[in-house]
């Protein structure tokens, strides 16, 4: 999937939708009016943009997610690793850890993840 960029406010809006989905577009209008003081048309315009970016879907006024929040952010991270570490996960992890130690729980969780990943 192509790189998707979200602005800070767009991201906030997207989070709002993920939190409440499935939700009607008129509900969203009310929510953004409260949270952002947006007009109806503005809420619709930004929603339209998010739909075009492939995050959500609007069926007759009911807004549902196409990909979940976790899916989306993991996609972002993968894209980030791709861009910044030439796709090398170890390099990313090394950078993430920056020489600090990991706890026993974290090591356990990572080991389990590796096993699962290797199997599939």
């Amino acid at each position: 999937m192509a790189e998707i960029q979200l602005g800070v406010i767009e991201a906030r809006y997207a989070d709002m939708i993920w939190e409440h989905e499935p939700v009607t577009s008129s509900e969203l209008v009310k929510m953004t009016a409260t949270a952002f003081n947006w007009k109806r048309t503005t809420a619709h315009n930004v929603l339209r943009r998010l739909i075009d970016k492939g995050l959500f879907r609007n069926d007759n006024g009911l807004v549902t997610a196409v990909i979940s929040r976790d899916e989306f952010y993991s996609m972002q991270s993968r894209q980030y690793v791709e861009d910044t570490f030439a796709g090398s996960l170890p390099a990313f992890v090394a950078a993430f850890m920056q020489g600090s130690k990991i706890t026993a729980e974290e090591a356990e969780a990572i080991r389990r993840m590796i096993d699962r990943a290797e199997e599939s």
């Binding site: 800070v8 406010i9 930004v46």
Partner: protein
């Protein structure tokens, strides 16, 4: 439309000088706090907004009306012929005459070329102004669209995804729009900077500046002024913020500036919102900022004061302009003969005409030594004359003659019917024998001259068709021991204007005094007149006996008259003075007939005029001739 544009053009030229001065000051006095420079830009705005100002001697401006819609030619005001008022001789002598020639028009045309040009220019200007205003509106609308998705963070501070470089939008309720991707430190600095802008009301000044730019878009210096104003506003804000920062804070601030910096095309992206301008300059000024020393502030105050006096005040209108401005009527020509007489023979500004009156002892209410009152009278005659409807004047049938009961407001004092020339004189209860209107085939010129005396001898006229010159000899020197003319040649131009050239009483009596000599033989009681130029004896007169015998002097001119025509003659009867007497006697003296010479000369100030001289003695006429 055209007149408005002309007025704006003149205002912009005078403001242009101030803009140049501020630019120079900005370059030279780099240490002056930028808020002071912004104040100077305020002066520029004042100059561009106010059509007039107080007059002062210290004004450096050359003129408040550099491009005039009327020209003064030989003392006559021609409307609708442009001239440039620059006080530079080269302009007076080369450019203005060219303008007069190329814009000369026949009064029968419906519109002068200048009127057409200014009307067209006015339209172009209006179009440009509207265009610029539309640009601003379009930009503003685009920005408002952009920030629809902005979200309020606090008070009037908003963040928006689409905003990359921070700006302020709105004049009445301004809002600060920031990029949503800023971290907290960055946001703090930027907010403090933009708040400083709001506190200084910069959003108003910038809008005002743009509005003035819309009006004065045709003047390139105004664009420079606006661009520099935007810069200086930012710098002033930086200074205000940097005042209380430590060096580290200043570094942080600069970093933030850089990260927000964005390439901006000159001015126009959105004139009402503003963001970063000239980042490099700003970073330098912030890092080097030091609170200005006292002497700098004093120098700054002095500069501001001097600039205000020199450029915010208008130059004093000169005396000659003062006189003519009182005559500024749309129709009819006015006369500045006061100026001409004064300069030609060096006599007092009131001119020889008044002196002549004093000698004859004529009493008239207006004849006071108070120059100011006469100045007012002078103005009054012509305006009173012009108040009389022309058909009333035209219908006066005959050349009038003196009869107090028959004085109407206007009499005809001379005419040449073959050329459709009539000359009229004004007269009412206050003003007598003064005020002349000359009608040559429908072209009328007014002059503030005395045209006769209580003896009511009317002037002589002669029209030279080839040269288009009207010669007039006014018989206005009469009284004890005096009966003399004042002579004028009026040159007619295609526009119908008459320009006077005078051979005044003082002029020719001066010349005569150097021309006529004498020798007196007490024994034979013969007075011999000598022409000093040729050295010849011209006449001998036997002087009758009187109480005192000694002749101490002669003089010529007090009894004289002109004969007009293609060749002009001056007839002079010299008088002699006995010892102890101040009254000249004329018994037995002949009339000397001189030729009057005239030629066109160029004066020191660059004007061309007719210069008169007394030429050959062509006749000596004893009694009875």
């Amino acid at each position: 439309m055209g007149d408005i544009f002309l007025k704006l053009l003149n205002m912009s030229i005078t403001a242009g000088w101030l803009i140049l001065a501020v630019i120079c000051i900005r370059l030279i006095f780099k240490k002056i706090p930028k808020w002071v420079i912004c104040l100077l830009w305020g002066f520029v705005a004042i100059r561009l907004i106010c059509p007039f100002s107080i007059e002062s001697r210290f004004s450096i401006l050359p003129s408040t009306e550099p491009i005039r819609s009327s020209t003064v030619v030989e003392g006559e005001v021609h409307n609708y012929i442009p001239s440039i008022d620059s006080h530079l001789p080269i302009v007076e002598n080369t450019i203005n005459p060219m303008l007069t020639e190329s814009f000369a028009y026949n009064e029968s045309n419906s519109a002068a070329p200048l009127q057409v040009v200014t009307y067209a220019a006015g339209f172009v200007w209006c179009f440009g102004m509207v265009l610029l205003m539309i640009c601003a509106m379009v930009s503003a609308i685009r920005l408002y669209r952009l920030v629809r998705e902005a979200v309020c963070v606090k008070d009037n501070i908003y963040i928006c995804d689409a905003v990359k470089s921070p700006f302020i939008l709105g004049i009445i309720r301004p809002r600060v729009y920031l990029s949503s991707a800023l971290n907290e430190t960055e946001m703090n600095y930027i907010v403090s900077h933009e708040s400083a802008h709001l506190k200084r009301k910069d959003h108003w000044w910038k809008a005002l500046g743009y509005l003035l730019l819309c009006v004065y878009w045709f003047h390139p210096l105004c664009w420079a002024a606006y661009a520099l104003l935007c810069r200086d506003i930012e710098l002033a804000c930086d200074e205000k913020a940097a005042k209380d920062m430590t060096f580290d804070e200043k570094k942080e601030y600069s970093k933030v500036l850089l990260s927000c910096a964005r390439q901006r095309s000159l001015i126009m992206v959105c004139p009402l919102a503003f963001g970063e301008v000239g980042v490099k300059e700003r970073v330098k000024s912030i890092l080097n900022y030091k609170k200005p020393a006292l002497w700098i502030m004093i120098a700054a105050a002095a500069v501001v004061g001097i600039l205000a006096i020199c450029f915010l005040t208008d130059p004093r209108r000169e005396k000659e302009e003062g006189a003519s401005s009182a005559f500024d009527a749309a129709d009819g020509e006015e006369d500045l003969n006061v100026e001409n007489i004064g300069t030609e023979n060096g006599s007092a500004e009131n001119g020889s005409i008044e002196n002549g009156y004093m000698e004859t002892g004529r009493e008239s209410p207006e004849q006071m030594d108070d120059g100011q009152a006469q100045e007012d009278d002078r103005i009054d005659v012509i305006s009173r004359f012009m108040d009389i409807p022309w058909d009333e004047i035209e219908s006066i049938p005959d050349v009038g003659f003196y009869d107090p009961s028959r004085w109407d407001k206007v009499i005809c004092i001379g005419e040449i019917p073959e050329y459709d020339i009539r000359v009229y004189g004004y007269n009412d209860e206050d003003i007598s024998g003064r005020g002349v209107a000359i009608d040559i085939a429908g072209d009328v010129n007014y002059f503030d001259w005395f045209y006769t005396t209580p003896q009511q001898i009317m002037p002589n006229l002669y029209w030279d068709e080839e040269e288009r010159q009207l010669q007039i000899a006014f018989h206005i020197y009469t009284g004890t021991g005096a009966s003399a003319d004042e002579f004028v040649i009026l040159q007619q131009y295609d526009t119908g204007t008459l320009v006077p050239h005078y051979f005044t009483y003082n002029d020719y009596t001066d010349i005569l005094s150097k021309r006529i000599g004498y020798s007196f033989d007490n024994g034979s009681r013969e007075l011999t007149l000598i022409d000093k130029v040729t050295g010849r004896e011209v006449a001998s007169v036997a002087i009758p006996e009187g109480e005192i015998s000694e002749i101490i002097g002669i003089e010529g001119g007090n009894i004289s008259y002109f004969e007009l025509g293609e060749s002009i003659k001056l007839f002079v009867r010299p008088g002699f003075f006995r010892e102890g007497s101040a009254i000249p006697e004329y018994g037995g003296m002949p009339f000397l007939e001189f030729e009057v010479e005239r030629e066109w000369v160029t004066t020191a100030s660059g004007n061309t005029e007719i210069s008169f001289d007394i030429g050959e003695l062509v006749g000596v006429h004893q009694d009875g001739e």
